[in-house]
């Protein structure tokens, strides 16, 4: 019996390690080919690079590339992601709180309206959205396309349904007594929300922020419509699309660009691994 268990364990380990190596193989390919010159990569895409110092030559090339504008694109991606995360979470929590606490036909209707947003795929609204953003500019002179605020505004709109839904479910389970006690103590509604309710919502904030961070950081189609490819403001995926589109055959540099695009998010994952996995799983189950 003990022997049989040992053999099973060895077989399981071997299978797991094999699959693990297969899963990481594409990363290995990216890494070794980021350190090659264009000639080297054509002659042998699976050999180790002649000299790893080529990696820094390639990184410098991507760093200074006028179509990637790496530093500025990372900055843009970071600003848009962080501001969207904060605004989606706070605005959705505020909305969910009043929707739970006020019982009326109107609040039920608004809640159902948010929920219906969960099943609407982006493709149905994308063309009219761009048209509407243009109309807003013509009507009130506020440019929405190719701006940071337009992009973040769009993320709030698309992010709100799921966030409102998740906050709504959680707030329902918070006992009302806590808020009533604060009301008697003379707190205003605004104080009650920001000082008492918000701190309780922390775990949901984490879950929603993680789900949204991965979505927004990697998103391509929506920013390509709102910000445009090859325009002044570009996120990392737009930069990669602009670059790979213009140099289809320069695989050495494309691989370096891919490596540099993946770098920030992989570092982020390693730092916050535990929270990220827990957050994403609990997010999906709701």
């Amino acid at each position: 019996m003990g022997n049989k268990k040992k053999i099973t364990k060895i077989i399981l380990t071997v299978v797991t390690v094999t699959l693990f190596l297969f899963t990481l193989f594409p990363f290995f390919i990216v890494l070794i080919n980021s350190a090659k010159s264009s000639l080297e990569i054509i002659s042998d895409p699976i050999a180790f690079p002649d000299k790893w110092s080529q990696l820094f030559v390639n990184i410098k090339e991507i760093w200074t590339s006028p179509s990637i504008r790496y530093a500025s694109s990372v900055y843009t991606s970071a600003i848009i992601t962080i501001l969207s995360l904060i605004t989606i979470s706070i605005f959705s929590a505020m909305a969910a709180w009043v929707l739970v606490r006020k019982k009326s036909k109107m609040s039920t209707f608004v809640f159902l309206l948010f929920i219906s947003g969960l099943i609407i795929p982006f493709q149905v609204v994308m063309f009219p959205l761009v048209a509407l953003f243009r109309m807003i500019n013509e009507a009130i002179g506020l440019p929405m396309l190719r701006t940071f605020h337009g992009m973040i505004f769009a993320y709030i709109g698309f992010g709100a349904p799921l966030a409102v839904f998740m906050f709504h479910g959680f707030i329902k389970s918070i006992p009302l007594e806590l808020e009533e006690a604060a009301l008697i103590d003379g707190c205003s509604k605004t104080q009650i929300f920001f000082l008492i309710v918000m701190p309780i919502l922390k775990p949901i904030f984490v879950t929603i922020s993680i789900l949204n961070a991965i979505w927004i950081w990697n998103d391509f189609l929506l920013p390509s419509l709102i910000l445009g490819i090859g325009q002044e403001i570009q996120t990392i995926p737009l930069a990669i699309a602009a670059f790979a589109g213009s140099f289809v055959k320069k695989w050495d540099l494309i691989m370096t660009a891919v490596l540099m695009a993946a770098f920030p998010i992989i570092v982020g994952f390693i730092l916050g691994q535990k929270h990220i996995i827990k957050g994403m799983v609990s997010g999906s189950i709701k």
Binding site: K9, L12, T13, V15, T16, V17, L19, T23, L24, P26, I29, V30, N33, D44, P45, I46, F91, M94, A95, W97, V98, S107, F114, G117, I119, I120, F122, Q123, V124, V125, M126, F127, L129, L132, E138, F153, I156, G157, F158, A160, T190, F193, I214, W217, N218, F220, A241, A244, I254, M255, V258, A261, A262, I266, F269, I277, M280, V281, S284, I285
Partner: protein, 301 residues
């Protein structure tokens, strides 16, 4: 100001930021889209859209590229759902067994999920174009050396499925892992004492116990396969072309890409919008049907 008015004010002020953005970004464009799909809308600012009734929908159903894209999208979705869930379940079973470093393997299987569809599309384009033939010649495997996956309209779809499975299986694995860890160990041990073998335990205990996870994973994989866009754009950009009903069509131009191309490449916004509406209706029916069916199975188990 009396209390009632003040309460109302607080209600709307708290609601306003989320509600206004949601209305402007989703609700209003949705109804605009319904209207535009029945006009000759061009998105050119000065041109007024004229009512054409159901013309765009008629054009869609008689369009051979659309029919082809529709069939291919269903095929892609079906195969992706099967492939992702099969791989994810295999991963989940392995990393919940008694092996060393299982958290490390879990993280490794999960990592591709962090890579955006566009970036991973380029990675796999390079693998299929350069790395696979190079591996073939290294080991002297002619089949691999001559395998031009992205140039063969019969095979490219499988390249997409492979790339998508690589990205998504690790995430779905996590959901299965959470479900598997909830299966009571005593139940499995008791059945072992009663003489149940591996497959009997799997089919009679584990599968029913994780039925709820199946509802979630099949919903997620179905919806995300059906909507796939980023990977296709970077990996194949819809190609290569093939012949369907005597007409040239793009073999991997699945619906999400097709809608975009009709609108922007062929400059037909209104027809693209009509196809988007049908896309939405089909996705809703299919996904609601799936949830209904798996929920029913959950109860039966």
């Amino acid at each position: 100001m009396n209390r009632h008015v003040k309460d109302k004010l607080v209600f709307w002020l708290f609601l306003a930021p989320a509600l206004i953005s949601f209305l402007v970004v989703v609700v209003i464009p949705f109804f605009m889209g319904l209207y535009y799909s029945m006009t000759d809308w061009t998105a050119v600012a000065d041109l007024k859209a004229n009512w054409v009734g159901l013309e765009n929908y008629k054009a869609m159903f008689s369009s051979i590229p659309f029919q082809y894209s529709f069939i291919r999208t269903f095929l892609f979705t079906l195969l992706s759902v099967l492939s992702i869930n099969f791989i994810a379940l295999t991963f989940a079973f392995l990393v919940t067994r008694e092996i060393k470093f299982k958290n490390f393997y879990r993280a490794g299987f999960f990592i591709p999920n962090l890579i955006g569809g566009l970036v991973l599309g380029y990675i796999w384009q390079f693998i299929f174009k350069s790395v696979v033939p190079a591996i073939g010649s290294l080991f002297g495997i002619n089949f691999l050396e001559e395998l031009l996956l992205l140039a063969d309209p019969n095979l490219t779809l499988f390249g997409l499925i492979l790339a998508f499975t690589w990205q998504y299986a690790g995430y779905i694995m996590m959901i299965y892992v959470a479900a598997l860890l909830n299966v009571p160990q005593e139940l499995l041990e008791a059945s072992e004492i009663d003489g149940a073998n591996f497959w009997q335990k799997l089919w009679n205990i584990t599968v029913p116990m994780i039925a709820q996870a199946f509802t979630i994973t099949s919903f997620l994989t179905l919806v995300n396969s059906f909507k796939q866009y980023d990977i296709i754009v970077a990996l194949t950009s819809g190609g290569p072309t093939t012949i369907f009903k005597g007409q040239t069509v793009n073999s991997t131009e699945l619906l999400a890409v097709h809608i975009y191309n009709v609108a922007f490449k062929y400059n037909n916004m209104a027809e693209g919008q009509a196809r988007a509406i049908v896309f939405f209706l089909v996705l809703s029916v299919v996904s609601i049907g799936q949830v209904y069916y798996t929920k029913k199975r959950e109860v039966e188990m």
